[in-house]
Symmetry: C2
Subunit: 361 residues, 2 copies
């Protein structure tokens, strides 16, 4: 009997709703949602969207789950093995990107912190005195070294900006606040390399959260603020709090669920600190006085709520904040394929936003 | 056996995913999503979000499905009975709204079309020569007479604008293109009542689609365009095309599913015309040269994809387009409770956007 139930349950999960009888589903759903409270939805098969979505993005949207979505490393050695395996895959793409966008990448130690200086071959006159600071994504664990440079290369390439990308320390060896300490040490030096009003900070996912946390900490420490920021689909609430953590669970095919490696990385990074500390979950910070922001997400993004909560909270604090949400897109896929039109669109939009808000003299 | 399967299927639909064993779900989901293609997600119970969501909006998000979501009127008489029943409920609220916002409402025939002139008690000096045109929502079938005035009252009240709200003809008696013919007849007269550069068009859902279709038709007919528009969660693709029609099916507790009354209303309105006609599904129109637009949606909105597809297509056409997406919100709930902070926020944002883009001399 137990096996029968399991088989039937698996069958229902595998069945597309469309193949079930609509009237039976409607009746069952009406019953399940006849009282106020949690929203109940049935198992679902969501086809790959084709309208306003490029073939390249369709391929990303339709891709199978990453095999590591539910990885559960038991110790530091297992974390390192996972981190190294993912880094090896990501790093393969970097030489192709450098070539396509004609950028050079040079390692440089700034304030004792490892960074990369990403420089486009041609910097427009208007960008010569501008400087961007990049904090990469990867759940505070993934993306050591050159493996996390893709976003820096994309914005250097599409926007014609010089970028400092911070290779901050990460768990399992260096939990919170090492990453933020490294990022702030670099920021303090970076504002001597260009005028802060000619600078912006950007990053996606963990990098989006760090972008917000850096600006919050700069404000608290009375350091210069950048003139703009681009927290892309920011991990602004590191805990499983926010509607899309549930509504897009199992729908997003990049992060898939908080309960996989993602939540494990969150706890590893926080290392016992309060998950609502604004330096860990910047959504709980005071957004007043923050610089203009451009945010990017997708309708299937597990962090859609992180993004729109941040957008709304910025606007409620009177900050000029712009939101872009891509059809059918899961987490951070706007940076996955350097040849997808949506990648060009997203980074060109960010570059245009920075150009509007940054000084150039 | 058949009954057992049905019982078990119903059980799975009713079970919150959280109550199931996470590892079993992860395994089942990994298997179901190990190959590219449609995204498969399990039955889900999504709690009411509480962060960045007011108690009033939480009540709307948690509300049970509307009992009529799956209504299937078989003939004109049954449509009229349904339309009248819904109108009676909606109309009850109008006197309270008039009182709260201190607006007057006067019926007026313009170019042979029924309209209401909604006038706030105090019109700021800057708005004295400005005029807004409102097209209401309701799937092209609901909202005759005063029942559909709430949004016009909200923008008149929060923004201090004079508004013409169009009580256009609707199915079952008047299918496409009657609604659009009425709206355009009013527009042609309205541009003689104020300067077009001092005017905007707005509406939600069906009204959002009509806003876009009006501007497209004005462009095609070389009529004056408004200086701005606010297509709120627009029904820009009347067909069940777009990712959130599936990903937010059964999650949105306002429209619930295209396959209920909504799709039936779509076919009733289109009356055999091509659903991809840009006057019926404006997403298929040419957006170049359109005026600045502000769009509003929610993470649970069945029309989230309609909204973001429209936003992206406007921006790709070079139109200044602003997007606001509310945490946990289903379709059009930003206009449901006149006392919710999000209602004030959404309509104040639209008013501010209009103030930025409309002339005033």
């Amino acid at each position: 009997m137990r096996k029968l139930v399991f088989t039937l349950v698996a069958l229902v999960f595998a069945l597309p709703a469309a193949a079930q009888n609509y009237d039976a589903v409607a009746t069952s759903q009406a019953t399940a949602n006849a009282v106020p409270g949690a929203r109940r939805s049935p198992g679902n098969a969501i086809p790959v969207p084709t309208n306003e979505v490029s073939p390249q993005l369709q391929a990303l949207i339709g891709a199978a789950y990453p095999p590591t979505f539910n990885a559960a490393p038991k110790n530091a050695a297992e974390w390192h093995a996972l981190i190294d395996a993912r880094a090896a895959i990501a790093a393969k793409n970097i030489p192709l990107m450098k070539e396509k966008f004609g950028v050079t990448v040079e390692p440089k130690i700034i304030a004792g912190v490892k960074t990369y200086i990403v420089t486009p071959k041609n910097i427009p006159e208007r960008n010569r005195r501008r400087l961007l600071v990049h904090v990469h994504g990867g759940g505070y664990v993934f993306g050591p070294g050159e493996a996390a440079l893709s976003e820096a290369i994309l914005l250097a390439g599409f926007g014609g900006f010089k970028v400092i990308s911070i290779d901050y320390r990460m768990p399992p060896d260096f939990p919170f606040p090492a990453a933020m300490d490294d990022a702030m040490a670099v920021w303090k030096q970076a504002v001597k390399m260009a005028k802060p009003q000619n600078m912006a900070i950007f990053g996606t996912s963990t990098g989006g959260a760090m972008t917000l946390a850096m600006v919050l900490r700069a404000k608290a420490e009375h350091l210069p603020l950048p003139a703009a920021m681009a927290p892309g689909t920011p991990w602004s609430d590191i805990d499983k709090i926010g509607d899309s953590y549930k509504s897009n669970e199992w729908v997003d095919n990049v992060l898939v669920t908080w309960d996989g490696w993602l939540g494990r990385a969150a706890l590893l990074y926080a290392n016992g600190h309060d998950l609502k500390d604004p330096q860990i979950s910047p959504i709980y910070g005071d957004f007043s006085g923050l610089p203009p922001a451009i945010l990017t997400s997708g309708t299937r993004d597990l962090f859609l709520s992180n993004t729109v909560r941040t957008h709304r909270k910025l606007r409620r604090a009177g900050v000029d904040a712009e939101l872009n949400v891509y059809e059918g897109m899961s987490h951070a896929q706007y940076g996955f394929d350097m040849n997808a039109p949506e990648t060009k669109e997203a980074f060109t939009d960010i570059a245009r936003f920075f150009d509007k808000h940054l000084g150039y003299k």
